[in-house]
Symmetry: C2
Subunit: 359 residues, 2 copies
DNA sequence: TTTGCTTCTGTGAACGTGCACAGGTGGGCG
DNA sequence: CGCCCACCTGTGCACGTTCACAGAAGCAAA
């Protein structure tokens, strides 16, 4: 990528030197033509230098590079986009209510990671947050309008109308998390099932014998996979009565779920919570029931979010590399744009376990 | 006059009819020219209809509108931006470490609000997160490159180099929070001082006699103003030994600060924490020191973030209309772009007090 | 009839790029 | 010498839009 170096000397007006005072309006930006005149070459040669093509003499190259810094040339994106038939923008689609967008720390980190990768590649990120039905229409129209070259989709639902639009338009796309109804779309994610199995095994390793789970969001692949991993780890010791299902990855759901589970199985001595927020609710429920953690009950969470360090005691949990996910999903879209063929089956990132005080 | 437009018949490819099967590549988007042909008018008239200008006959208008939906015309942004000399993008600059960007709930909400207002006005938002020195250079170069028509700046520091660049380039800009070194820049914010005074008065109204403050981020106007409001409320009763200063609006800083304050003044019975995150740290520190809340000590926070409802007990706090701030700051930039003159002195939004259980 | 004004329409010229193509040089090889 | 090829350069066109301008039609007033 050519980087326009910051201008050194201030430019004088290109037109005739005269007495007419230049009005202090918008000073015009230097174009490739100005650079060509300054360097004594043609537009085409400047273009070749700017885009790093072959077949330019060293003499011309140094003259042009000097001219570029002298006139302070920066390529005009609109003109370039027009002729190249692209927009140099990637849509970042989040299909969540606004409130969850804020409460879920992962989304913010994914956004950050994606933004970093995109801006490194001189792409812009267009945030499209889908909350209401109205938003769905708006985003669908936006996508059809060709305002973006590709899209990143976070937390798509089953039968998501947005996914349909993307599919129909054949826009390069990549998902965070596995979209169940689109087998062929590239995605990045973590091994929810394997990670859940591993941390459950660690929890079992502390000598617990009655280990239960607060399972959440079973309509998502992440929720279902975490439950599956839990089941894997327990093997023949698995007891379905020790699993409490709650709808959302939330503090409130975790607290309510734990109360319900304690009612049913007071002898439980270990809990795998489907997320850190759920685990925070579990901790409070246990405290309200007079159980100590990790003395009476060991608790582990999932995500390694701000909840984890903030909880009391601090949570043992699975670290989710959210920023890395964002970076990876952006790279995937960028790679498609470059016309490279994609790895089948998606990419799974590592999820180290962080062991703290709660188990 | 639409002269015998072949309405109805499907359009064949413009090139020679032959046996060469059209490759299933990118289908070309309809242009203003296609619409003109379809409606039997000229490009200029179509342009006038699209941009809602005067001097178009009703006859032509309906024909063009029908043609637009028929061929599925969407204006090409790159072409429009090229000729209009604009980018239709607004930079959203956050000068914070990545970690704080995530921990501070306000920033996410401000982003959301700004994004809503911007996309309603058909503007794109380009997120520019300044963390390292390297980022500063990158963003400065980006701004100089003319990639945005205006900027929104969140939490600028004193002597911020980014602010300098914006100033020099004379890009339309608006700040969230008052930038101390730029008297003339439009900004939106809240009345930190007044709000701090009000909630401190409420706290005093519960009968507390030894009320202290954990003051944070005194290098920002928000931090300094909150301390000033606290001082205002106490008047002659103000005791400087009851103020503990911490660097950041963070949980950890709040907890450490409260421990330090308790060491110095064990008889404190009320605390105004500079933010909810700080207040959450204060609550934990008090619990660790064996004090009950609100029994022994009343605690109030600031922000009404997710921390507030999540804390135990739930925090009494000042509600910060973060989404509204985002919307307002975006409107300010948009208004400048329209060439309207700006209200001097900035805009302050209302900050209702939310009274919960912690005081 | 001429003149002037308003309303409406079409046309050519930008805007700043990238790319295809033509053309020019010089050297190696038959 | 003639030919081909690799290297280098300049020119014209296209991308899709907006805008300024010219011009036509209709009408009212001189």
């Amino acid at each position: 990528m050519p980087r326009g170096a910051p201008a050194g000397a201030p430019r004088t007006a290109p037109n005739t030197v005269g007495l007419v005072s230049t009005p202090p309006l918008r000073r015009k930006r230097a174009t490739v033509h100005d650079v060509a005149v300054e360097a004594g070459v043609s537009r085409g040669t400047v273009s070749r230098v700017v885009n790093g093509e072959r077949y330019v003499s060293d003499e011309a190259r140094v003259a042009i590079e000097a001219a570029i810094v002298k006139v302070g040339y920066v390529p005009n994106n609109a003109a370039r986009n027009l002729v190249m038939q692209r927009t140099q923008a990637i849509g970042f689609i989040v299909h969540e209510p606004h409130s969850l967008f804020l409460e879920d720390p992962n989304i913010g980190e994914i956004l950050l990671g994606a933004n970093t990768a995109l801006s490194d590649a001189d792409y812009q990120m267009a945030c499209l947050i889908v909350d209401s039905e109205r938003d769905t229409d708006r985003v669908a129209r936006y996508l059809s309008g060709g305002f973006v070259d590709g899209v990143i989709i976070v937390s798509a639902r089953q039968n998501d109308p947005i996914t349909r639009v993307v599919e129909r338009l054949e826009i390069p796309a990549a998902f965070v998390g596995h979209p169940p109804d689109l087998a062929r779309a590239p995605f990045v994610g973590i091994d929810n099932r394997g990670s859940a199995r591993t941390i459950t095994e660690r929890l079992l390793g502390t000598g617990r014998t009655r280990v239960g789970m607060i399972a959440a969001a079973l309509d998502r692949d992440s929720g279902a996979d975490r439950l599956a991993g839990f089941t894997d780890a327990l093997g023949s010791r698995f007891d379905p009565t020790l699993v409490e299902r709650v709808p959302l990855y939330s503090y409130a759901a975790g607290r309510a779920g734990m109360h319900a589970l304690l009612e049913r199985a007071p002898d439980v001595d270990g809990i795998f919570a489907a997320s850190d927020a759920v685990a925070a609710g579990v901790l409070d429920a246990l405290r309200e029931a007079g159980r100590s953690v990790p003395g009476d009950v060991g608790v582990v969470g999932f995500d390694d979010s701000a909840w984890a360090v903030r909880a009391q005691p601090a949570l043992s949990t699975v670290h989710q590399p959210a920023e890395g996910l964002g970076r990876a999903v952006a790279e995937s879209v960028l790679s498609q744009l470059r016309g490279e063929d994609q790895p089948v089956g998606g990419i799974l990132l590592e999820t180290p376990i962080v062991w703290r005080d709660s188990a």
